[in-house]
Structure formats: structure tokens, C-alpha cells
């Protein structure tokens, strides 16, 4: 009931990982398939400029672009930046230069890595060429990087290209992974620490007196911090429930089972949990339940009937 000093901060690793599967437009498909075949394609705009990397629509006029041309695998650095400490996922794992490179025949520049011994070996205007990846799949990473090149630019207009290749690439899978260290904040930290002592502790709004379980730090009705800690339960009442008939992936629970909203005694709103220890078709609104703690005692694994008489509807109707 009384405010307590700030708890020790909880931290846990959190990985957000998602493989985006993306389909390609016709220009992107030709470009990425071309890279697989060691061919660099650009696209010509209505104004006659050659865009590399090529895009489906003119960035200035929004006109649909389809006139593909082949440009050289050699080019000129238009700007660069020395990267002394490569980061995860970047093209090279030794220090390298990021560079915008205008390939011979192109009017715009492509971003990629430039492999060079040090920043003193790189300058704007230097000549470079594509170093192809040994294994190519139809992706921007089929260019392993650029490398210094002694030759001059080859003149002449880039030649038209049909963009047609055998077995064209029609999509890419772009894996992404971001690593975080999660800290739940003041209210949820206290809630989790109480759970580890097999106690359920909510927080009361000092304005409307509602007790939030689990607490999120603020009363969403009043917009102020919940501060007073209130132990609730352990027993509670099923306010409503559903019967789950589809087995969840990686979840070791037999179906059908009951998932319920449970108003713990003293709580101002229901939390949700699984009901066990009773056949699924005998669960009912008003059923009195108590937590069954997980093996490690960190959280209620599920709730089971207490054997008490069912609660009157009037006692929980405001918590539905």
C-alpha cells in the first residue's frame, strides 16, 4: 500500500528478427538478375538520363521507366566515407570506404563498399570496378564491393538491353535482425519481482482508485502515474472465457483448452490466463480459480478451480 524505493532494474535480451519477402518489379528484377550474370543494367529516363541503380518510376516525373541499358562494371567515386569499424551485416568485415559510384555510362551513383587499404588510398574521382561475389543469387550483395581500378572510363553510349535472362529473379528475401536490451520500467519491474515471490501486486490510481493488474505505470483513464502497490488475489473469478481448438505452434498444450479473463480478488480489471484442472466444457463465468505456479515459480502457469461456490454475477459484472 505504501510507495517503495525504486527496484533493481531488470534487463533481458530481446531479438527482433524478420525475413522480409519482397516481390520485384520488372526493372528491379532485370537489374538484380543481371547482377547474378555479372551484368549491370540501368534504366533510361524520358529526359535521357541513365539511372543506376535503376528504378521502376522516374524520381522526377513519376513516368514509368522500362528502357533498359547495359552500363560498365567500372566507374568513378562521387563521394566516400571511411568506415574504420565495420558493423554487422555490412559488405566487408575489414575497414573499408562507403562510396557512391557513378558507373561508366550512368548519370547517377550507386551506394556500395569500396575495398581499399586505408583512407589515404581513397579520393573523390578515383576509378573503381565491381568485385563480383563468388556466389551470386540475384541481390545487391552479388556485388561483393568495389575495388580500385587503373583504367580510364570507356566512352560511348550504353547499349540497349532487353533485360531478359534465363530464370529471372522475381523476389528477394531480406533478413533483418535487431538486438535490444529490454527494460520494463518502474511499474512492470515491481510487478515481475513480486511475481517471482509468488505474489501478484497491482498498482492503484491515486485519482480513480482503480487497481491495475498488471500495472503499466499509468492510469489510462486519468493519465497519471499509479504509485500505491496493492497485493491482489491469489484467488479470482472467471469473468469470461473462450475455448481454444487450434494448437499453437511451439506450444505444448493439448487442445481444446480454455483461455479466460480472470478478475483476481481486489483487482480493478481482469487479466487473462489458461484454465486447467477441469474439463474444458465445464468452465463457466463466475468460476472461482487460483493460480498454479510454473515449475520455476516465476509466473502462474495456469489457474485451477478452488472448489468455492461460483461468484455472483453482480460481483464481477463491472469487470467484464
Amino acid at each position: 500500500m505504501t510507495p517503495t524505493p525504486p527496484p533493481e532494474i531488470l534487463r533481458a535480451p530481446l531479438v527482433v528478427e524478420f525475413p522480409f519477402t519482397r516481390s520485384l518489379g520488372p526493372v528491379q528484377s532485370a537489374f538484380l538478375t543481371g547482377l547474378r550474370e555479372r551484368t549491370v543494367l540501368g534504366v533510361r529516363t524520358e529526359g535521357g538520363r541513365v539511372l543506376v541503380p535503376p528504378v521502376e518510376y522516374d524520381p522526377e516525373t513519376a513516368a514509368e521507366l522500362r528502357e533498359l541499358v547495359e552500363v560498365a562494371a567500372t566507374g568513378t567515386v562521387t563521394t566516400w566515407a571511411w568506415n574504420p569499424e565495420p558493423r554487422s551485416g555490412q559488405p566487408l568485415d575489414t575497414p573499408f570506404a562507403w562510396a557512391l559510384v557513378r558507373l561508366d555510362g550512368a548519370d547517377t551513383a550507386l551506394l556500395h563498399a569500396l575495398d581499399a587499404p586505408g583512407p589515404d588510398a581513397v579520393r573523390t574521382g578515383m576509378r573503381v570496378r565491381v568485385r563480383w561475389a563468388a556466389e551470386r543469387a540475384g541481390a545487391i550483395t552479388d556485388i561483393a564491393c568495389f575495388e580500385p581500378y587503373g583504367g580510364d572510363a570507356e566512352g560511348g553510349e550504353p547499349a540497349p538491353h532487353s533485360g531478359e535472362f534465363d530464370d529471372p529473379v522475381t523476389g528477394i528475401v531480406a533478413p533483418a535482425r535487431l538486438d535490444y536490451t529490454y527494460s520494463p520500467g518502474r511499474a512492470q519491474t515491481r510487478y515481475l519481482q513480486a511475481l517471482s515471490e509468488r505474489r501478484t501486486v497491482g498498482e492503484r490510481c491515486p485519482s480513480c482508485a482503480k487497481v491495475y493488474v498488471p500495472p503499466r505505470g499509468a492510469c489510462p483513464t486519468c493519465g497519471i502515474a499509479t504509485t500505491d502497490r496493492v497485493e491482489v488475489g491469489p484467488r479470482g473469478t472467471v469473468t469470461t472465457f473462450c475455448i481454444v481448438n487450434i494448437k499453437a505452434k511451439n506450444l505444448d498444450i493439448e487442445v481444446p483448452y480454455v483461455y479466460a479473463h480472470i478478475a483476481l480478488d481486489g483487482a480493478g480489471l481482469a487479466l487473462h490466463g489458461r484454465i486447467g484442472g477441469i474439463p474444458y466444457d465445464q468452465v463457466r463465468m463466475g468460476l472461482r480459480v487460483e493460480p498454479v505456479w510454473s515449475g520455476d515459480g516465476r509466473y502462474p502457469d495456469h489457474y485451477r478451480p478452488t472448489g468455492e461456490p461460483d461468484a455472483d454475477y453482480d460481483t464481477y459484472k463491472e469487470l467484464l
Binding site: L111, P220, A225
Partner: protein, 351 residues
Amino acid sequence: MKPDREVAIVAFAQSDHRRRTDDLSEVEMLMPVLHEVLRRTGLKTSDIGFTCSGSSDYLAGRAFSFTMALDGVGAWPPISESHVETDGAWALYEAWVKLLTGEADTALVYSYGKSSPGSVRDVLTRQLDPYYVAPLWPDSVALAALQARALIDAGATDEAALADLAARRRTDAAANPHAQVTGARPQGDHVVAPLRTGDCPPIGDGAAAVILAAGDRARELCGRPAWIRGMDHRIEAHSLGVRDLTDSPSARLAAERAGAFERPVDTAELHAPFTSQEVVLTRALGLGDGVRINPSGGALAANPMMAAGLIRLGEAAAAVHRGDSDRALAHATSGPCLQQNLVAVLEGDPR
């Protein structure tokens, strides 16, 4: 475009920006700022006609975090509310438009960002072209460094001038009690050359909020409202290789459409996370020696992602409120190398 309804920023509040806020959830970090901005006007949530926020779930890796943040507003009975997944400056734009339509007379705008749980340099790579650029994981400092190199090659600046700029901004920030980094300091090593540690913004957590009001309501709520004379935002092509990185035509066009060039401004709050980007913006907007630029220290002093742009509008408005400025330009940016830019012109009534 001349708005046909007078709308002003009447209050501004921000957190003390910190490198880490592990002790607080997002709503716990935001809530005191919301309370402060409401307190300054005497308004309650129920008095506010429209609420709009800006944030990004990717920063802290928390799905739908903006719904949790709404807990701090007190959104019951149900409020009229919206959210943008970018800097809160764009939430302010949406709220301004809402007030111009006459559907609301007051608006609460807030934004927040916790960069500390993740690695913001890597997180920001996920906003890039997913076909040609994102698979290379070019981080935000690397892209800014390409722009800085182009600027140096063009003769517009050099490393010494950038160092001087960094020192001046952080010296100015000593007067800003909310700043995360204050006082001139060594430039440090190259992070990605030519940018050194001192050229880069601090990484940190923070929140900001403003209140907008229309017409007489604004005059009731604020002694000297910061009238929004115009506001516009513009975007450039997403492919870096088709842009002239030494210029910012989108910022210039937004400023023109906001009316910034009709009369000189005395103050400019520029959202330039990197020193080199302030050089680009100052040139593109033609800001002369008579303009006080970033008296708050700007994003070099505190750069809470998703809030730093809104803070520029708030700082410019606060300068008008205090009487330090009569006509201020506020700018916000989003995306790599100043890809998107928003400009607002704020004025105080004649004294």
C-alpha cells in the same frame, strides 16, 4: 500557402534528455512532460480537441508502443487521436491542419523516443530502400559522412570548420537545462570519416510536447502566442545517388511555401543531427549572420529520435513566448542525409 485561421504554439515542454532511461518505460518517461505542458496552459486532457503523437516502435523494439504511451494522456472518455510513425514535428503538422479545418480549437502534440535499448545506427538502416540499400546495412553515421565528404569536396566546409560549429553549439547548450551534452569538448576520433564523434549527435532518450490553440483561445492560454504563419514539408528522391547531397532543395521549397523568405527571421532552430547537415541547411535556407541559429544547442546537444524535430518547433516557439524572438524559423528532418524536411515560420505579436 496562407492559412486562413490563426493557430499558435502556446506551450512547450520537454524531458531532460539522457543517454539511458532503463528505470522508466516509455509512458513513464513521457508522462511528466505531458503533465508539464498541460500545467503551463491550465488545460486538462478533456479540454483538448485533438491529440497527435509521433514515435517509432523500431527504436526500442516495442510493438504498438504508442498505444501504451496513450495511457499517459488519459484517453477516457475516448479522445480524438492520431499517430505518425516519424518525428513529432509531422504530428504537429497534422494537428495544425486539423485546427485549420476548424474541427478543433486546441491540440496536444507529443513525441518520444528511447534509443537506448537498441543500436540506433543499425535500427535506422531499416528505413532505407529494402532492395538496393538496406541489405548493405549502411548506418546513419556512414550516410551522413558521405554527405559531409561531398560538402568538403565542394569547398563548402572543412573538418576544422565543422569542429568549430560543434563547439559553438555545445557551448550554447550550456544554457539549456534539458540538453544531454553541453560544453565544448574534444572532437574525438573519426566515427566514419570525415565525421568525428563531435560532429555526431548524442544518442539518448527523451520526450517533448506542445499545445496548439486557435485564435482567441491561443491568446487566453499564452501571454505571447507563437503564431504559425506557415508550415510545409517536402521530400526528396529516396536514392542517395540521384541527389545533390550538398544542397537541400526540399528544405528550401518547404521554407518558401511556409513564407520564410518573405521577411528575415531573427532565430532559426534547425534539426541538423550532424554538423555538416547544419552547413547544408544554413546554405540552402540562406540564413545570414544576423540569424541566431540553434541557441538551444540543437540536435548536437540532444537528439532524442522522433522528438528532436518537434523540440525544434518547441524551442523556436518558446523563444517567441519569452520575447527572445519576434520571427523564428523551425525545421525538422527525417530520413538519411536530410531526405525529408519540414519548415514552420513562427511569429509573436508586435510588442
